[in-house]
Every structure is written in structure tokens, then in C-alpha cells.
């Protein structure tokens, strides 16, 4: 039975409350326009030259939207992949290692993409 204090804190059995749920929804909402932007960007540069693509990615508006997409998608992806592992991987060691791997993967693709956008923006 939930004590009044427990109910007020509302954190539940995982002690994290609805934070992950909310973050997944928040990034989902952000991802909708950002993904549409990505598809538009890729389609409108189909067959474009290297210089043209680089120039467009260096545009501050494009760069900021790309960075927003990368970070929002990386966070969203980490939550989703963790959820799948939590559902299907039950061996303690295997679960711990895969959960760590998911975070490392999300950080790796997120950081690599971020560095690429910054390099393109600053022109180095």
C-alpha cells in the first residue's frame, strides 16, 4: 500500500517516476518536424554537388535544426532501445552490458554527428 509520502513523491517502483515516459514523448514531438526537415533536406539535395551540400549544411538555420534533430533523436533512440532490451533480455550480465552498449552507441552517433556539423559550420 502506498503511504501518503510515497503518493506525494509519485516516483513509483523504479524511483524515477514518469521522467523517461515524458522525455520519450517530448523528443517524439520534437522529432516530427525535425524528421520532416531532414527528409526535405535530403530530397532537395539529391544529386547536388559536394560544395553545394557542404554550403547548405553550414547555413546556421540548417545546422541548428540538424543539431536539434541529432540530439532529440539520440535521446529518443536510447529510451526506445533500452525499453526493448528491458523487455526481452533477462540475464543480468547480458542485460547490463546491452543497456550500456545502447548508451555508448547513442553517444557515439550523437557526438560524431555533432562534431561533423560543427566542423562544417566552422569550416575547418
Amino acid at each position: 500500500m502506498a503511504t501518503p509520502l510515497k503518493r506525494i513523491r509519485g516516483l513509483g517502483a523504479a524511483h524515477h517516476g514518469t521522467e523517461t515516459f515524458w522525455r520519450q514523448r517530448l523528443t517524439a514531438v520534437a522529432n516530427v518536424p525535425l524528421v520532416i526537415f531532414l527528409i526535405w533536406f535530403v530530397v532537395s539535395h539529391a544529386g547536388a554537388s559536394y560544395d553545394k551540400v557542404r554550403e547548405c549544411l553550414a547555413n546556421p538555420v540548417v545546422a541548428v535544426l540538424m543539431l536539434a534533430l541529432i540530439w532529440s533523436a539520440a535521446i529518443h533512440m536510447r529510451i526506445g532501445l533500452r525499453e526493448i532490451i528491458e523487455d526481452y533480455v533477462h540475464t543480468k550480465m547480458c542485460k547490463t552490458v546491452s543497456l550500456m552498449a545502447v548508451t555508448f552507441f547513442a553517444a557515439l552517433v550523437g557526438l560524431a554527428s555533432t562534431l561533423a556539423i560543427l566542423k562544417i559550420s566552422f569550416g575547418s
Binding site: L38, V43, A46, G47, Y50, V53, V109, S113, L115, I120
Partner: protein, 134 residues
């Protein structure tokens, strides 16, 4: 002793017990598209890093994406992305507490399937048109 207890405790039925239904398949598809988009994200990162590294690297990546396998992969990821996005919008609508009745969930399921296929084809038609045909 423990083994016996584990074997006898009631187990909740899993996927293979139920008759396949559209909404159930949509739920599975949402997971599969979501998980596969992780690979799509890695490809996006690879493409961006190649742009940042210079024309030679970019040519290398473009020749992969331009190949038959590359284009097939990109087509599959376009569909997965749009399907996951439409499926996600469906979930966001459900989060408000609306559209949860039997009729509406079927409509949402079909809208996601047909919408994702139509939009994927549309995106590729526009893409090929911009490139001046096949």
C-alpha cells in the same frame, strides 16, 4: 526445487498464443522500425562525418548510397522513418485519451500503413525527379 516452482508458476501468454491482429502487428512494426532506425541514424552520422572530412570521403559514401544496395537501404529506411513517425503521432493522439475505441484504432492502423507507403513513394518520386530521372 526452484526449477519445479518456476515451471509451475502461472505464465502470462506471449505473442505466439494470440491470433495475429492488425493492431498487434502495428505495435510490433513500431518496435521493429524504431530499432532499425538506429542503423539509419548510424548511416546519417556516417554521411555527415564524410561531408565534414572532404570531397574524397563524400564521394566514397555517395557511391555506396548510389549503388543498388545503398538505394534499397535508403528506401527501406525512408519507409521505416515515416512509418515510425506516423505510428508515433498515433501514440501521441492516444496519450491525450482520444481515439482508443475499436473502430478508431483500426482506422489509425490503416492510415499508418497506407500513409507511410504513399509518403515514401512520394518522397522518392520527388527525389528522382530532382535528380532528372533514374
Amino acid at each position: 526445487m526452484t526449477n519445479k516452482l518456476e515451471a509451475e508458476r502461472p505464465l502470462s501468454p506471449h505473442l505466439q498464443i494470440y491470433r495475429p491482429m492488425l493492431t498487434m502487428m502495428m505495435s510490433i512494426a513500431h518496435r521493429i522500425t524504431g530499432a532499425s532506425l538506429a542503423i539509419g541514424f548510424a548511416l546519417l552520422a556516417w554521411w555527415l562525418v564524410a561531408v565534414s572530412m572532404g570531397p574524397e570521403h563524400y564521394e566514397c559514401v555517395q557511391s555506396f548510397f548510389g549503388s543498388f544496395i545503398g538505394r534499397a537501404l535508403l528506401f527501406a529506411f525512408t519507409w521505416a522513418l515515416i512509418h515510425h513517425m506516423l505510428g508515433g503521432i498515433r501514440h501521441l493522439i492516444w496519450d491525450t485519451g482520444t481515439g482508443l475505441d475499436k473502430g478508431t484504432i483500426e482506422v489509425f492502423a490503416w492510415a499508418t500503413i497506407i500513409g507511410s507507403i504513399l509518403l515514401t513513394v512520394l518522397v522518392w518520386v520527388i527525389g528522382y525527379h530532382r535528380m532528372g530521372g533514374l
